[in-house]
């Protein structure tokens, strides 16, 4: 990234308080174009809350979010989405009563006429490997498949930045490998921030890693430095330590 270029995403002094709980505390976070960032941290560290602030689902108590230099702090979720930010939420948000194909179609139809949207939906479904179950109701699918449906929908939305909150949760080994492959491929053209607890998975995809702990950034560095850092190990003690 060019040093004086405007970053894709620039969050400054981000703070979110829920009553007495400070879920995110004065976080500065900068992401370049087509960058892949992993965001890790123990349960309750504030990762999902941070994503919600970036996407307009929560208005930060303090701080600003800039996307390509434009202030999007406090914008509605649909406005943030229209700027080019897509998110796969931790608890899958999908259209359970619609088929896989319809889920992805609705995502593509925001920018395109029905005919084009149908073509994009079919291509995306093929790409993510859901063609075989394209006609199934999403509500009837297994958790891993629902995650992929959501990823496919986010892709069909054609964002420049994808936020993936625990995309590999509940997936078996094979599925995790496929998801990491998919993420690397997406990263050829788009920026991503990926929240994950699975360290194997982080090792497969990560370049730079940001570690959240108790609402603040503990460390931000390249994956090897971070995973061999003692305080990161301490924070993760009791979990599958790095």
């Amino acid at each position: 990234m060019n040093a004086d270029a405007v970053p894709l995403l620039e969050a400054r002094g981000m703070t979110m308080r829920f009553g007495g709980v400070t879920a995110v505390n004065n976080v500065d976070f900068v992401l370049g174009e087509v960058e892949l960032r992993c965001l890790i941290g123990p349960n309750g560290a504030g990762k999902s809350t941070f994503f919600k602030m970036l996407t307009g689902q929560l208005t930060p108590t303090a701080g600003t979010v800039r996307f390509r230099g434009e202030d999007i702090t406090g914008a509605y979720p649909h406005q943030v989405a229209r700027r080019g930010v897509g998110i796969k939420t931790q608890v899958p948000n999908v259209f359970d009563g619609l088929t896989v194909r319809e889920n992805v179609f609705v995502a593509a139809a925001r920018l395109h006429q029905a005919r084009t949207a149908r073509r994009i939906a079919d291509e995306t479904i093929e790409h993510v490997g859901l063609t075989r179950i394209a006609g199934r109701m999403v509500g009837q699918l297994a958790h891993g498949q629902r995650q992929w449906v959501e990823i496919a929908a986010v892709l069909a939305q054609e964002p420049d930045l994808l936020l993936l909150d625990e995309p590999a949760a509940g997936m078996n080994k094979e599925e995790v490998a496929r998801t990491s492959e998919l993420i690397r491929e997406i990263n050829k053209t788009k920026a991503l921030i990926v929240v994950e607890h699975d360290m194997q998975f982080i090792r497969m995809i990560a370049k730079t890693v940001t570690v959240f702990n108790q609402g603040s950034i503990l460390i931000e560095d390249d994956v090897h430095t971070v995973l061999s850092n003692q305080s990161v190990r301490d924070v993760y003690l009791g979990r599958q330590a790095a």
């Binding site: 996407t55 689902q57 509605y76 979720p77 649909h78 989405a81 229209r82 897509g86 998110i87 939420t89 948000n93 999908v94 259209f95 359970d96 009563g97 619609l98 088929t99 194909r101 319809e102 179609f105 609705v106 995502a107 139809a109 925001r110 006429q113 029905a114 949207a117 149908r118 075989r132 179950i133 006609g135 199934r136 109701m137 009837q140 959501e150 929908a153 939305q157």
Partner: protein
């Protein structure tokens, strides 16, 4: 998808054909009295469609479709008495309730009140309108040369006429064609809306509003448009109803009326268009039968039927019958194509 689209067209064609057969066939089957009865059933079916659309597809729980129904009825009466020709009066009877729905919807959806409160607000508005129109007795409440008449309502409302020819009113036999034609038009319109991109998004918002927002759709706008369209259709139903009895009174706004619309949709089936139509006709037919005898209170029986349905067939009749038919006649292809809730079904 090609299959789904083909079967969509087939069911649409079948419904259209059935509608036209009934429209032109029933006058040969029924005497004038029977036909008149069918006419009011059809007016109520249009009303049920408005509720079925905004609730079953838009996920908006309105307890106040009777508000737009009543407004449509009164607007037609006032307008036709002043204009002489019914054409503009019909247009106003659709436009005014739609505009009112837009205004109300703007405050509800852009005010970000919760779904439960949408029910409360629409119910309250209906009660207010009921009381307002009830207290319009006396000369002071006369619009042009149309007295609103308080709780007695407005009698002798001029009927529809051939457009542009106020001296050629429709007779009751011809009114049937106007009513049934309206029902078919509304059905076709809603099928088209549901098959369109807009309709897909409306259903998606019903399924998961958060996801729709995160994809870049503004749910407030889609709900507002859905609610406005529903208001206009309810207004048209009110116009037909006024024509049927040459009469409109504040009972159109009553809570019993609001409840009845919801029962039509519940019994027929939420999330379908055919369900509300059949529900409206069946319930009204039943009420008419009950009304003819003196032994048991009619409301009691309707109540019992409703409870029975909610307990035994909570989905409503049409979805259940459709599932049974699908199981009998449609072989599920490999990979299992499950029923698609969002397809614009009859």
């Amino acid at each position: 998808m090609a299959g789904a689209i083909a079967s969509g067209w087939a069911s649409f064609a079948a419904m259209l054909l059935a509608g036209l057969v009934l429209m032109f066939g029933l006058p040969h089957v029924f005497d004038l009295f029977g036909l008149l009865q069918m006419t009011v059933f059809v007016a109520m079916a249009v009303l049920a469609l408005s509720q079925g659309f905004i609730w079953g597809y838009g996920g908006i729980m309105s307890f106040g479709q009777s508000a737009f129904f009543g407004l449509g009825g009164y607007t037609y009466a006032v307008a036709v008495m002043n204009l002489g020709d019914s054409t503009g009066a019909v247009a106003l009877a659709i436009a005014l309730p739609a505009a009112f729905a837009a205004l109300l919807g703007y405050f509800m959806f852009y005010g970000r009140i919760s779904d439960a409160y949408v029910g409360v607000v629409t119910l309250t508005v209906t009660v207010i309108l009921f009381n307002v129109f009830n207290s319009t007795a006396g000369d002071w409440y006369t619009i042009g040369n149309a007295p609103l008449g308080g709780f007695n309502g407005m009698p002798s409302v001029p009927p529809l006429n051939i457009p542009g020819h106020p001296d050629e009113p429709l007779d009751p036999g011809q009114l049937w064609y106007a009513a049934m034609g309206s029902l078919i038009l509304v059905y076709v319109l809603l099928r088209g809306v549901l098959a369109s991109r807009f309709g897909r998004v409306v259903v998606a918002i019903r399924e998961n509003e958060t996801r729709a927002m995160l994809l870049g759709y503004d749910p407030r706008l889609y709900k507002l448009l859905t609610f406005t369209l529903g208001g206009g259709i309810a207004g048209l139903a009110g116009c037909l109803f006024t024509n049927w009895g040459s009469f409109i009174s504040p009972t159109a706004f009553s809570l019993a009326q609001s409840a009845q619309i919801i029962i039509f949709v519940l019994v027929g089936g939420l999330g379908t268009l055919l369900g509300p139509i059949l529900g409206a006709v069946a319930i009204q037919y039943m009420v008419t039968l009950i009304g003819a005898q003196q032994k048991v209170d009619g409301n009691l029986i309707v109540g019992v039927v409703l409870i029975g349905f909610v307990l035994l067939v909570p989905q409503g009749v049409v979805p259940v019958v459709r599932n049974v038919l699908q199981r009998l006649f449609v072989r599920t292809p490999r990979g299992g194509t499950a029923p698609v809730a969002s397809e614009a079904r009859p």
